[in-house]
C-alpha cells in the first residue's frame, strides 16, 4: 500500500521533476518529415527540416557534417532540390548511390547551400552526405563561442562583424539564450541576423528560449541535445536550459562519451552544472545532479566544458575539466566585472590533443 501511494505521488510529481522531458521527446522528432509517400530522416537529428515538398527539401544544419536518408514509397521525382541553410562554407553534397548525380551546387551570400540532384530514376531510396571535404580526418582548426544575446539581437551584428574578421574560424558554437523569450519572430530575426555571419552557427537552447513554447526552438535550430564530430574533435551540446538534464539525455550522453573516447571532446550547455559563484546558484537546481553529470564527463575524459547563462566570463575547473562561462552576447551584463560583450576563440589541435581558449572583447 505504501509503495502504491508513493508511486502515485511520484508519478504525479514527475511532471515537475522532469521539466525537459517534452523537449527530449521533441528532439527525437528533429530531422524527420514526410510529404505523401516521401519521407526524410536526418541522422542523429543533425539538421532540422524546414520545408519538404515532392521536389524540394530545405534543412537547417545543426552540425558541420550530416547524412540524410530519403525514401519514396512510390515513384521518386525526376529531380530533387536540396537547400541547406546554415551551411558550412565549401560544403559538398554526396549522393549514395553515386549513379544519381548532383546537377548543380551553389552557396548564397546568406550562408545557404543549394543543390540539385537528379535524375533520380528508379531509385526508391537515397543517402545524402552534406559535408565540407577533408573534415573527416583530424586536423587543426578554430571555432568561436558566443552565448546570451537575449534582448540584444539588434546589436548582434557588432559581434558578427568582429567574428567575420577573425581568421580561420570554421564555425560559431552557441550555448543558448539566442533570444529574450524564444518567440517565433525572435527566432526568425536571429536567423536573419545570422545571414550576415560568414560561418555557420551550431547551438543548444537556453532558458530564454522557453518563454513561449518549450519546443518552438527545435523547429528553427534543431535538437537541444546532440553530438557531432568535426576534424577529429567531438562536440556534444546538451539541453540544460531548465537547470537539469533529462534522464534520457544522460543515456544519450553515455553513448556520446563513448564515441568521444580517445579524441578531444568539447561539451557545451547553457546552464552550468555549478555556478562558479555558489550562493548565486545560476547552476543546476540539484547539486547532486550537477556532480553526477561532472563525474560522467570527467570519467570519460571530456577536455573542455563551455557554458552560458551567466552574463560574464569565468574560467575555472569543474571535476578537473577546464570550464569557461561565456555569456557575453549582449544580454544584461554582470556589473563590476570589467568584461562586457565578448566571444571566445578556441584553437583545436586534435593531433596534439590541445584546446586553447582565448577571449575577444567586443566593446
Amino acid at each position: 500500500m505504501t509503495r502504491t501511494i508513493a508511486l502515485v505521488f511520484a508519478l504525479g510529481a514527475s511532471g515537475c521533476l522532469r521539466p525537459t522531458e517534452e523537449r527530449v521527446r521533441q528532439d527525437l522528432q528533429v530531422g524527420k518529415s514526410t510529404f505523401g509517400t516521401f519521407s526524410v530522416e536526418v541522422d542523429e537529428g543533425h539538421a532540422a527540416v524546414r520545408e519538404l515538398s515532392a521536389t524540394r527539401l530545405a534543412l537547417w544544419a545543426a552540425a558541420p557534417r550530416f547524412s540524410v536518408s530519403l525514401d519514396w514509397q512510390s515513384e521518386a521525382p525526376d529531380e530533387l532540390s536540396v537547400e541547406v541553410q546554415n551551411c558550412m562554407p565549401q560544403a559538398e553534397l554526396r549522393v549514395d548511390p553515386r549513379r544519381v548525380p548532383v546537377i548543380s551546387s551553389e552557396r548564397s551570400s546568406t550562408g545557404a547551400c543549394s543543390f540539385r540532384v537528379g535524375p533520380i530514376g528508379a531509385e526508391r531510396a537515397l543517402r545524402l552526405l552534406v559535408a565540407p571535404p577533408g573534415t573527416e580526418a583530424p586536423s587543426p582548426f578554430r571555432f568561436a563561442v558566443m552565448s546570451d544575446v537575449q534582448e540584444a539581437i539588434p546589436d548582434v551584428q557588432d559581434i558578427f562583424s568582429l567574428l567575420n574578421q577573425q581568421p580561420g574560424v570554421d564555425f560559431l558554437l552557441g550555448a543558448g539564450d539566442l533570444t529574450e523569450q524564444g518567440t517565433a519572430p525572435e527566432l526568425e530575426r536571429f536567423q536573419r541576423e545570422l545571414e550576415q555571419l560568414d560561418i555557420p552557427y551550431y547551438t543548444t537552447l537556453g532558458n530564454h528560449e522557453l518563454g513561449e513554447s518549450p519546443t518552438l526552438y527545435q523547429r528553427y535550430f534543431g535538437r537541444g541535445s546532440q553530438s557531432f564530430e568535426y576534424r577529429g574533435v567531438r562536440f556534444t551540446l546538451l539541453d540544460s536550459a531548465s537547470g537539469s538534464l533529462d534522464p534520457i539525455v544522460f543515456d544519450w550522453l553515455d553513448a556520446w562519451l563513448a564515441l568521444g573516447a580517445g579524441q578531444p571532446h568539447v561539451v557545451a550547455m547553457h546552464v552550468p552544472p555549478l555556478d562558479p559563484v555558489g550562493v548565486r546558484n545560476g547552476g543546476f537546481a540539484n547539486r547532486n545532479e550537477a556532480a553526477l553529470l561532472l563525474a560522467r564527463l570527467a570519467s570519460k575524459g571530456v577536455d573542455l566544458t563551455i557554458y552560458g547563462h551567466i552574463h560574464s566570463y569565468y574560467h575555472f575547473e569543474n571535476a578537473g575539466i577546464p570550464a569557461h562561462v561565456s555569456g557575453g552576447g549582449g544580454a544584461i551584463p554582470e556589473r563590476f566585472d570589467d568584461m562586457g560583450r565578448h566571444f571566445l576563440l578556441v584553437d583545436a589541435d586534435p593531433l596534439a590533443e590541445r584546446l586553447a581558449v582565448s577571449i575577444v572583447r567586443v566593446d
Binding site: 515537475c16 518563454g211 537547470g243 545532479e289 556532480a291 578537473g320 563590476f336
Partner: protein, 407 residues
C-alpha cells in the same frame, strides 16, 4: 450578523485608515521596510516580560476575547484567502481585529518591498558576484516574508483564538529518531533509506548527528551538528521559557556519499536559526510561529572514478522561512509534555535530497525546495515525525521519536 453601513465601517478602522492612505510609494515602502526590521527585532529580542503578557497568558477569557466581527463567518474565512492573497489581513479585518490586520499588511508590504528591492538590485547589477549573496538572501527573505504573512493571515482568521496548541517551552535532554525515508529523484536509482538521528542538549549547547542509509543502493548521508542557543527553550533550565521563540547559532558538517556514481559531497555550514511565536508580533494570534534561518556553507565535491581524483569547491546560501502551528497542550504537566507542531516552509538549500525546484519556464534553478513537516509526542517519551519535501526530488519520511530527560 448585523448589517453595518459603509461609513460605520470606515470609522471602525482608525488604525488602518490614516496610515494606509497617507504618504506616497516611497513612504509606504520605507514603512514596510521598517516594519520588517521591527518584526524581526520585536520577535527575536522581545523581553520575557512582554512575551509573558503576549503568549503565556493562561486566562482563557484573555485569549478568546475578540471584538464583534464586522461580518459573520464564513466571509472572513473566505476573504482571508481572497482577497487575502493580495491584501493580507483581509479576513481578520472583517473580524474587526484592526491591529492584527494592520500588522499583517505591514508584514506583506515588508515582504514585497524587500522582494522588489532585491529584484531591482539583482537586475541592475546582473547578479554581480560580489553582491549576489546578500541580495539573493534579501530576495528569499522578501518572498518568504510574503508567503509566511499570507499563511499567518489565513491562520489568524481561521484558527480559534487560543490556537490549536501551545509551544514546547522546555526541551528534552535527548531526542532520538529512527525511521524511513522515500526519495524519488529521477536522476538517481536510490529510493529507500533508513534514517536515524540523535540530538542531545545541555544548557545552551546542542550536539547531534543524523544518518540516511540506502543499504543496497550505494548512498549514505551523515550529518553532524552543534549549536548554541542564545534565547528560548532549553533542556535543563529550571523554569520554562516564555514561549517557543528561540535563537540558535548552528555549525554543521555533512557527508553525502554517492558511491555508485563516483562522488562525495561534503558541506561545512554555519547558520543562525530562529523562531518567533506569532503572538509576539500579532498579539491576538496564538499557537503559531514563524521559522527563520540564514547562513552560509562551503561545499566540496570529491570525485573518485578511474582516472579521476579531484575536488571541486563551491558555496551555498542557506535560508529557510516557514510558518507553523503548535498542536496540543505542551505545557509542563506531571506526566510531562505531549503535543507537537506542523510547519510549511521554503528552504533555499540546493544540496541534500530535495535540492532546488525545477520549473518548466524560464526560472529553473535558483529557487530551493518546499516542505511540510510535522511532529507529535503522544507521550513524553514517544512520538512520531513526518516530513515531505518537493524540489528536484520528492521525499517523504516518517520516523519514531524517543525522548529522554523530559522535565
Amino acid at each position: 450578523m448585523r448589517a453595518r453601513p459603509l461609513d460605520r465601517l470606515a470609522l471602525d478602522r482608525p488604525a488602518l485608515g490614516p496610515r494606509a492612505s497617507g504618504g506616497g510609494l516611497l513612504t509606504g515602502a520605507l514603512r514596510a521596510f521598517v516594519g520588517l526590521a521591527l518584526w524581526a527585532v520585536s520577535g527575536l529580542a522581545a523581553t520575557p516580560a512582554r512575551a509573558d503578557t503576549s503568549s503565556r497568558s493562561t486566562d482563557p477569557a484573555a485569549l478568546t476575547a475578540r471584538p464583534e466581527p464586522r461580518i459573520g463567518s464564513p466571509l472572513p474565512e473566505i476573504a482571508a484567502v481572497f482577497p487575502g492573497l493580495i491584501v493580507h489581513g483581509s479576513g481578520v479585518w472583517l473580524q474587526h481585529r484592526n491591529q492584527t490586520a494592520q500588522r499583517l499588511l505591514v508584514l506583506e508590504g515588508a515582504g514585497l518591498f524587500t522582494t522588489f528591492l532585491s529584484g531591482f538590485v539583482l537586475f541592475q547589477t546582473g547578479a554581480a558576484r560580489n553582491l549576489v549573496g546578500p541580495t539573493a538572501l534579501g530576495a528569499v527573505a522578501g518572498v518568504g516574508t510574503f508567503g509566511v504573512s499570507f499563511l499567518a493571515n489565513v491562520y489568524a482568521t481561521w484558527a480559534p483564538p487560543e490556537g490549536f496548541g501551545q509551544a514546547q517551552r522546555r526541551l528534552p535532554l535527548l531526542e532520538s529518531r529512527f525511521g524511513y525515508l522515500y526519495v524519488y529523484d529521477p536522476q538517481f536509482d536510490f529510493r529507500h533509506f533508513v534514517t536515524t538521528r540523535v540530538d542531545g542538549r545541555l544548557g545552551p549547547w546542542r550536539l547531534g548527528m543524523g544518518t540516511a542509509h540506502a543499504p543496497a543502493q550505494g548512498n549514505q548521508r551523515l550529518e553532524l551538528f552543534t549549536g548554541h542557543r542564545f534565547l528560548g527553550p532549553r533542556a535543563d533550565s529550571t523554569t520554562a521559557a516564555a514561549d517557543g521563540s528561540y535563537l540558535e547559532l548552528q555549525l554543521g558538517f555533512s557527508e553525502h556519499r554517492f558511491d555508485s556514481s563516483g562522488f562525495v559531497s561534503r558541506v561545512v555550514e554555519s547558520k543562525l536559526e530562529g523562531r518567533v511565536d506569532s503572538a509576539r508580533y500579532l498579539p491576538d494570534v496564538h499557537g503559531a510561529f514563524f521559522q527563520l534561518e540564514a547562513g552560509y556553507a562551503r561545499q566540496w565535491f570529491s570525485f573518485d572514478l578511474p582516472g579521476v581524483g579531484t575536488t571541486t569547491a563551491t558555496s551555498l546560501l542557506l535560508a529557510h522561512m516557514g510558518f507553523g502551528v503548535y498542536l496540543g497542550n505542551r505545557a509542563p504537566q506531571a506526566a510531562g509534555p505531549t503535543g507537537g507542531e506542523v510547519e510549511l516552509y521554503y528552504d533555499h538549500r540546493h544540496d541534500g535530497f530535495a535540492a532546488g525546484l525545477k520549473v518548466r519556464g524560464l526560472g529553473s534553478g535558483p529557487a530551493g525546495h518546499l516542505g511540510l513537516s510535522g511532529s507529535y509526542q503522544f507521550s513524553p517519551r514517544w512520538g512520531l515525525r513526518a516530513q515531505t519535501e518537493f524540489g528536484s526530488a520528492w521525499t517523504l519520511g516518517l520516523s519514531a521519536v524517543i525522548r529522554a530527560g523530559v522535565r
